[in-house]
């Protein structure tokens, strides 16, 4: 009887623990799964930009993709060097730059109107590295490693317009800015 009670308690304690650990770490697990898939299937490295075409039904990496957006994604790593993002963005339609922590919390979002210029120039740096000087805007990351996502709205996907948007997408670069 005592043994049975022990087993019951063990089962309850384990299931309660599993419940809370799942709630707490599910985002990190999903993020890690995405990172692993992209690194395995496409050989994507840290600080390498991924230029994503307009999503279709074959886009299966991230749920609920917006079919109106060209994306530029990157698993950034600023543990060694800050990273500078530059490029030319559309001057009249929506675009935005967003950064996420591995627990999927969005810690930075800025859109075209807030930038006020189609010239994208932002440096991501570690939160503690306040001594850095840069001509570009500095975004201080609360984590060494995270995710960057640039969204470029394409409401008119006629071939010539889409080509123009893709040329802007391709203009985005990421580079080390180690001193």
């Amino acid at each position: 009887m005592k043994r049975l009670a022990t087993y019951v308690l063990l089962g309850i304690a384990t299931s309660v623990l599993a419940y809370y650990l799942t709630i707490l770490y599910l985002p990190n697990a999903i993020y890690a799964g995405l990172s692993y898939r992209l690194q395995q299937s496409r050989g994507v490295a840290s600080n390498e930009l991924i230029y994503v075409d307009l999503p279709t039904d074959t886009s299966r990496n991230v749920v609920m993709p917006n079919p109106d957006f060209l994306y530029i994604a990157c698993f950034y790593d600023v543990s060694e060097c800050p990273q500078r993002i530059t490029g030319t963005m559309p001057d009249a339609t929506y675009w935005s730059l967003a950064f996420y922590q591995p627990n999927t919390v969005n810690w930075y979002i800025k859109n075209d109107r807030q930038f006020g210029t189609p010239q994208l120039d932002v440096t991501i740096s570690k939160a503690g590295d306040r001594s850095m000087e840069s001509s570009s805007e500095i975004a201080y990351s609360p984590v060494d490693k995270g995710f960057m996502l640039i969204r470029i709205l394409v409401t008119d996907n006629a071939p010539e317009r889409l080509a123009a948007y893709k040329a802007l997408q391709a203009s985005v670069r990421l580079e080390d800015v180690c001193e």
Binding site: L17, Y19, I23, D57, N66, D68, T104, L153, T155
Partner: protein
Amino acid sequence: MRLKAILIPLLIVITAAFLGSGYAIHSLRSTKQEYTIQNACWRVNKKMDLQDSHQRALVAMIGLFALRESEVLYFVASEDSEGRPLDAQYDYVLEGLEMDARYWSYTLYGADFFLVKNEANKFGFNMDNVQYDEAPAHEEYPSNRKKTYTIQISSTPKTHNWLPSSKEGQFHINLRMYNPEKSVYENLDSISLPTIRRIEQ
């Protein structure tokens, strides 16, 4: 005997861990969260800072890399205006007005929250490519009157604003509002959102 003493607790731990995790995921999907607002058949998160661990887990499952509510409002409909689950074996008509946002769009997702394969390669409509209803004869839309539109959701081709669904299974409609007007935030539970009407066969 000794093996049994190890195996039984081990089996209990593994089973309980699966049950606990499974229940967590089930409850995330099925429980109405306190940060969610219901407006007709549409649900929207009034706050997307993801400081709440339940919300963070749910958004990671069905809306990974979503933006904060200050940038975008994501309205999701999984049921029609009568409260019945959206089911691809039926046709639906979505009727709505222009939205008070810089950019808005409708996207259809399958039960797995991915885009649905279809022959037209069409996954949604936005404010620029939806065909608006024509103004009544000899009239023009007054500048203060919002234009209306009708979107036909069906697995078979339609001539006007056809949004293809799959042949079967549940689906979801996502209405995105980028940079909405202040009045939208202030009236999330009462702004006029589209109706989704099932066409009885």
